[in-house]
């Protein structure tokens, strides 16, 4: 067992626990906290997979931004601080059953597929030959610069021969602006509907 593996299993368990706790908790705030735990653990898993930039973004945007937004939403929409809106047990069981089936199917698929062969197939079909061992060039965990270059349309990891992401990057930027305006428009103060209406 290497340290990395220990950490992996540690964070894997926390992530799963957080996720399960999100699913099971009835109090929204606790759900949010569990989600924080889960997402932080996931970001740790990203670090473990040499995706330090993605992990940092996950922490910054997801945990520090999105979740805060969600908690904001909770605060703005709850009629009492720790209100619970419960679902019927039958629904819960049904969901649990479907979830279990779903999980078993995915688990079955995960275990049944030989990912190495699939990966090699993809690599063989790719126009630019890359190592089938995956992207590990920045094994020391420095992916910020390659990522930045790929957003500028350059691909150092593929000898510069694969297409970059300049256009999607720009589109996402515009998209974000649109979302900003749209969200501001949607969330602006409106006349509150009379309770009996």
């Amino acid at each position: 067992m290497s340290g990395e593996q220990i950490l992996f299993w540690l964070f894997a368990v926390t992530a799963c626990a957080g996720a399960i706790s999100v699913a099971l908790s009835q109090i929204v705030v606790r759900m949010a906290v569990s989600l924080i735990v889960c997402l932080s653990s996931v970001s740790a898993l990203f670090f473990l997979h040499n995706a330090d930039f993605v992990g940092a973004v996950q922490l910054m945007v997801y945990v520090g931004g999105t979740i805060v937004l969600l908690i904001f939403g909770i605060m703005l929409t709850s009629s009492s601080p720790f209100s619970k809106i419960k679902t019927s047990p039958a629904e819960g069981f049904l969901s649990a059953g479907i979830g279990a089936l779903f999980l078993s199917i995915i688990a079955f698929t995960v275990t049944q597929v030989d990912w190495k062969i699939q990966s090699d197939k993809v690599a063989a079909a790719a126009p630019v030959k890359v190592s089938s061992e995956g992207y590990n060039a920045a094994a020391d965990g420095n992916t910020a610069r390659p990522l930045a270059l790929s957003f500028l349309g350059l691909r150092p990891d593929q000898n510069g021969q694969a297409p970059g992401y300049l256009l999607p990057f720009e589109i996402v930027s515009v998209h974000l602006l649109v979302v900003l305006i749209g969200a501001a428009y949607l969330a602006r103060t409106k006349r509150r509907v009379a309770p009996n209406a």
Partner: protein, 836 residues
């Protein structure tokens, strides 16, 4: 001399189109902001006066080039009849040759170098070359023709806007624009009570018995006047018969609009309709004539023209050639299509283009039919008296001086195409008309009606003259008549205006004390139309004018009527069979003098018969009497020196070729047309006889109406049968009513009954069948087609409704559906995917 025709055509073209411009502005300009300004009148006067100025310019140019006005009188004196021999047939534009240099040389002799009109065909006739040398100096350009714009081409046939300019055209332009200007000015005064927003029409009543109130129509009156001027000038300007027809109809519509100017008055409406419908009868003949001519001659143009560089003869050249003779071959007339430079001859045998003689007669009669309608000749004379419903300036301009003269003008213009039979018919129609109208005028009491009948009668004189071959005499009378008749109408208008729209002569009397200017200018007109002269003053005049004038002192009417009577006498001498053609105008000359003086005495002399009218009447304003004075001057002196005068000379200048020597026709109408020489020989006799008749008529009128030697009442009672016959206008209206109107009405009623009983029944039956079919169709539609559609719709709807159960609106359920779906999909995949 670049192009005289082009230049003249431009003068006349602008003169012609200016009133149209005025009309457009007046119509589209609307009310000019208010109905109370005279802007429209000023505009109309400006247009027509500018037209007169341009016409005058054109006249001067023409005179300068041809000397027609300033020399022909003199020439007539010295050369007498001979000088007229060689005036080329109208339409054969006299041209020596084409060389322009020659043209310049000959210009001082008035020697016509025909000029190619800008568009014009080379309608040149080498007139002068065939005749004696000493005549050549009087030889001149008789006519200029050309095309302004081609409207359409149908093979060789061409419909275009042409011009045809000769002395007649220019004189007509002068006459029309001058008289129209005077009458326009007069109308400013006469129509001034229309300058209001609330005009009360005392002659029209609403259903509840009140007078009609309406806005004034001052501007409308003048816009119609402008349109009329345009149309009339268009007739004079026209270079082809179709163009004439177009403007003919435009003139007709103007007449209709102006007669019905007081549209609230039923009588005005009826009169307008009558004028229009009666004119249609004549125009029907006109169209037949047009069709025949186009079919056989293939052109409408008067003058020669050019197509693709080839000369083509116009109508006149085709029928008469350059020598004025018909080329008859059996029952056909050979059209002279062969030749060039205006020398048109019958082509070689076999190549000839012919027209059956009878059809040529019919064509002539047809065109003359149009003239009958327009000039109110027997038997279509009935509309003109009724047309007096229009405002008096309208009567003066449209129904005496110009429009009705258009018929005479056309008869004169189209003279070359008329055969002797047609001419005879014209003569007799004119003869009958002049007598009938004169007799009716004796008994008429409405001052305008008297003038209207006198107009018809005088037009009859003109027609008679043309029919007798006195082309120049007829048109001479046309011009002089225009002056004195417009003068008299304006005077009557002045009287009517002064008497507050009282038109009945029995209610007048003694007005000369109240309105002296009107009375004495009227007297000038009456003397002119009566044809009075002072016998024996010819020598005196000759002395006074150093021989320039040798005619007795007389107003214009004497000269022109003298010419006609002389022609008639000469004609009767050649054709004793037709002695009535001389006697009737002679007698009528007396009658004319009688009724005209009757009118004057009735109105202006004696004692006032109706003191109410007399007390309220007044002299007209200056704007009205100034035109009277001007016109009276011209009425008196325009025909100075008679047949040796400039006016007659100028007309003779454009006289159709061949007339001067007289003609002798054989066949159906075996008549002979007197030569100028013959006419001249009998001139003295005829003049004396005519003067005698006029003096007798005048004396009778004086005795009856001024001296009251015999009370006219007694005579009326004595001859009550004749009197009633005359009052009923020879029963023409009743005759037409019985012969045409009532039959038409009964046919119409019969048709209506047919419509109602037969066609409507069929229609209703078919409608019922349709409804029945439609009912069945509806049942089919509702039952089967709609049923099918509804079924589909219902099925869709019910399926949708049953499916919509799944649309629970619960988000979580949707997620559940997705999850279940994915799981199911996987299960199916696992179950059925073949193992790789």
């Amino acid at each position: 001399m670049d192009s005289l025709g082009y230049e003249l055509s431009w003068y006349l073209r602008i003169a012609w189109l200016l009133p149209l411009l005025g009309f457009a502005i007046e119509v589209f300009g609307g009310y000019w902001g208010t109905r109370k300004t005279k802007t429209a009148a000023y505009l109309a006067i400006g247009c027509i006066a500018a037209g007169f100025v341009l016409s005058t310019v054109a006249f001067c140019r023409w005179n300068a080039e041809t000397g027609a006005f300033s020399h022909s009188g003199e020439a007539a004196v010295h050369e007498e009849h001979a000088s007229l021999r060689h005036i080329p047939f109208a339409g054969q534009a006299a041209v020596a040759d084409h060389a322009e240099g020659h043209a310049a040389e000959h210009a001082e002799h008035g020697s016509g170098e025909h000029v190619h009109g800008e568009h014009a065909s080379d309608g040149a006739e080498h007139g002068g070359a065939q005749h004696d040398e000493h005549h050549a100096e009087h030889q001149s350009i008789a006519a200029l023709s050309g095309t302004i714009y081609t409207l359409g081409k149908f093979g060789d046939l061409e419909v275009s806007i042409d011009y045809y300019i000769d002395s007649l055209t220019i004189l007509m332009f002068m006459m029309v624009t001058f008289i129209a200007t005077c009458i326009h000015i007069f109308a400013v005064g006469y129509m001034s009570d229309e300058l209001t927003e609330d005009y009360v029409d005392h002659f029209a009543h609403t259903s509840d018995g009140h007078h009609v109130h309406r806005p004034g129509r001052f501007y409308r009156f003048f816009s119609y006047f402008s349109l009329f001027s345009f149309s009339m000038l268009g007739i004079c300007f026209a270079g082809n018969i179709f163009q004439v027809f177009v403007f003919w109809e435009l003139v007709g519509i103007c007449s209709y609009l102006l007669i019905g100017f007081y549209t609230e008055r039923k009588s005005a409406n009826v009169a307008a309709n009558k004028a229009f419908i009666v004119n249609r009868v004549g125009d029907f003949g006109f169209i037949i004539g047009l069709m025949i001519l186009w079919t056989y001659c293939g052109t409408f143009k008067f003058g020669d023209y050019e197509v693709d560089g080839h000369e083509r003869p116009g109508l006149f050249s085709m029928v008469r050639g350059h020598d004025g003779e018909l080329a008859q071959q059996g029952s056909d007339v050979i059209l002279k299509t062969h030749g060039h430079d205006g020398h048109w001859q019958a082509p070689q045998e076999g190549e000839s283009k012919t027209i059956p003689y009878t059809l040529l007669v019919v064509a002539g009669l047809g065109v003359f039919g149009g003239c009958i309608g327009k000039s109110a000749q027997f038997p279509l004379q009935t509309w003109l008296p009724d047309a007096m419903e229009g405002p008096t300036p309208v009567s003066a301009l449209v129904h005496s001086a110009t429009m009705v003269a258009a018929g005479v003008y056309l008869a004169g213009r189209f003279f070359p195409v008329f055969t002797t039979e047609v001419l005879l018919a014209i003569a007799y129609v004119g003869c009958i008309t002049l007598f009938i109208a004169a007799t009716i005028a004796i008994v008429a009491t409405d001052i305008k009606k008297v003038l209207a009948y006198s107009t018809i009668s005088q037009l009859g004189y003109m027609m008679l003259a043309i029919g007798l071959g006195g082309w120049a005499a007829g048109l001479f009378h046309l011009i002089t008549h225009a002056f004195f008749k417009s003068l008299m109408f304006l005077c009557s208008g002045s009287v009517i205006h002064g008497c507050h729209h009282e038109q009945e002569m029995p209610k007048m009397g003694g007005l000369r004390r109240k309105m002296p200017i009107t009375a004495y200018t009227m007297l000038v007109g009456v003397i002119a139309i009566a044809g009075l002269a002072i016998p024996g003053t010819g020598q005196l005049m000759s002395l006074l004018t150093f021989g320039a004038v040798d005619k007795p002192l007389a107003f214009s009417g004497f000269h022109s009527k003298d010419a006609i009577v002389a022609t008639a006498l000469a004609y009767t001498q050649l054709n004793p069979l037709h002695f009535l053609l001389f006697l009737t105008p002679l007698v009528t000359a007396g009658i004319t003098a009688f009724y005209m003086f009757r009118l004057w005495f009735y109105t202006f002399a004696g004692d006032p018969r109706d003191h109410h009218v007399y007390d309220h009447c007044h002299e007209s304003p200056k704007v009205m009497w100034v035109p009277l004075v001007v016109l009276s001057f011209f009425a008196a002196f325009c025909a100075a020196n008679g047949e040796q005068g400039s006016l007659f000379g100028m007309l003779s200048f454009s006289e159709p070729v061949g007339l001067a020597d007289g003609m002798t026709a054989t066949g159906t109408a075996a008549i002979a047309v007197p030569s100028h020489h013959a006419v001249h020989d009998v001139h003295g006799t005829a003049g004396a006889v005519a003067l005698l008749a006029a003096v007798l008529g005048t004396l009778t009128a004086y005795l009856l109406y001024c001296r009251k030697v015999v009370d006219p009442e007694n005579i009326r009672n004595q001859f009550s049968g004749v009197y009633n016959f005359l009052v009923e206008k020879w029963q023409f209206d009743n005759l037409y009513d019985a012969a045409f109107v009532r039959p038409s009405h009964s046919v119409a009623r019969w048709c209506a009954a047919c419509d109602r009983n037969i066609f409507d029944a069929i229609l209703h039956g078919s409608v019922k069948v349709c409804i029945w079919v439609a009912t069945i169709d509806r049942k089919f539609d509702e039952g089967i087609v709609d049923g099918l559609v509804n079924l589909i719709g219902n099925v869709t709807r019910s399926v949708g409704l049953s499916l919509s159960v799944f649309q629970t609106g619960r988000m979580r359920q949707y997620v559940m559906f997705i999850a279940v779906g994915v799981v199911t999909l996987f299960a199916l995949l696992f179950a059925f995917m073949p193992k790789a």
